[in-house]
Symmetry: C2
Subunit: 211 residues, 2 copies
């Protein structure tokens, strides 16, 4: 189906020595793959170590705990998403195109090879405050940016604008996630076009037709 067979990605050569920084990067890579597939709880430090072709203590020479490792990855993904969204919103001053660009950003993020969106959107460690904070912050700040654009040319209060912004963000997030689970049956650009249209029709000139 997909381009190349990704069944058994890489059983990396065991016994190879790496300089510290390179090893760290590789461990992050391995951990990302494991967490993305199994989630936090079902993932074992042994699994991650094995995936990297290394033994467990090596992992602990680079990261003090499972949680810290997870947070490192989560921070990475959060920052990634947020940068993408920010760029999208700043890419133009035309609000219609802003909507499309932002929607595209979400679909790109969710469709990315690494699937790191699972860390941000489907974390199974939300009982941990540190995780909750980060996950919430992404949504919060994305919504904040959208909210500013909305409030600009619509006479809504901050709270109202923010609620709508969250609604739009939610639409993007959930529809994009649904779209990947279908194996991209609908082509990406068409999906983006459809959902963007839905969002734009909803939000454009919002208050004036508020029957």
């Amino acid at each position: 189906m997909t381009m190349s067979s990704r069944v058994i990605p890489e059983p990396p050569a065991r016994g190879v020595r790496l300089p510290r920084s390179a090893r760290r990067a590789q461990l992050l890579h391995a951990a990302r793959d494991v967490f993305v597939v199994h989630g936090y709880h079902a993932a074992g430090m042994d699994d991650i170590a094995e995936r990297a072709g290394v033994s467990k203590p090596v992992l602990y020479q680079h990261f003090p705990s499972k949680l810290e490792l997870y947070l490192a990855l989560l921070d990475q993904s959060s920052a990634d998403l947020q940068a993408t969204v920010r760029d999208a919103l700043e890419s133009t001053t035309d609000n219609k195109q802003r909507v499309t660009a932002t929607m595209q950003a979400y679909f790109d993020f969710v469709g990315a090879e690494s699937s790191t969106f699972r860390l941000v959107f489907e974390s199974d460690l939300t009982s941990e405050p540190a995780v909750r904070d980060r996950v919430d912050r992404v949504q919060q700040e994305s919504a904040e940016q959208v909210s500013e654009v909305i409030a600009e040319d619509a006479g809504l209060s901050d709270e109202q604008a923010h609620l709508l912004a969250v609604g739009l963000i939610g639409m993007a997030q959930v529809s994009a996630r649904y779209w990947v689970t279908t194996g991209q049956q609908i082509p990406a650009d068409e999906a983006v076009r459809l959902v963007s249209a839905l969002a734009w029709r909803g939000i454009s000139k919002f208050p004036r037709t508020g029957g």
Copy 2:
């Protein structure tokens, strides 16, 4: 802040004997409270038992495992939500009102005292297939129903209609969840009105203005 102080809900009288069915119901109640607050993983069977004023083996006389107990609750909540959504969609034939009613359904579900929405929308056991299935099914079937309404009077393909339906569902779900975290700063009916307006403006007469 809220009406009554719910700090220490009920430390039920220890040593009271109950008939089997009543005990079962009470255990479900206690388990619900604990799972809702801590999630699956952080919740202990001891916690649940203690909350019910009972010892652990009693719990196991009613439920064969932690997972089964969790699934029982999840099924309950899923059915609850789905019934609410179905009723909302069948409550009228006017599509504009349908949108409002459905949105109201989500806000009601999320705003409910029991907070069981956390089981369906924020489960931390999505790595378990049995849980994944149930959570996905709710969204899937809700979207299916919405999708039928959309496809009725709009010339979209099934896949396209379904994607938009998921987008709308996502909007409802995420904005409702956001709304509760704010402690209902915005009054419920106003929030519903706003988000419904957003959704309705987006979806009504969709294809004809698809510039």
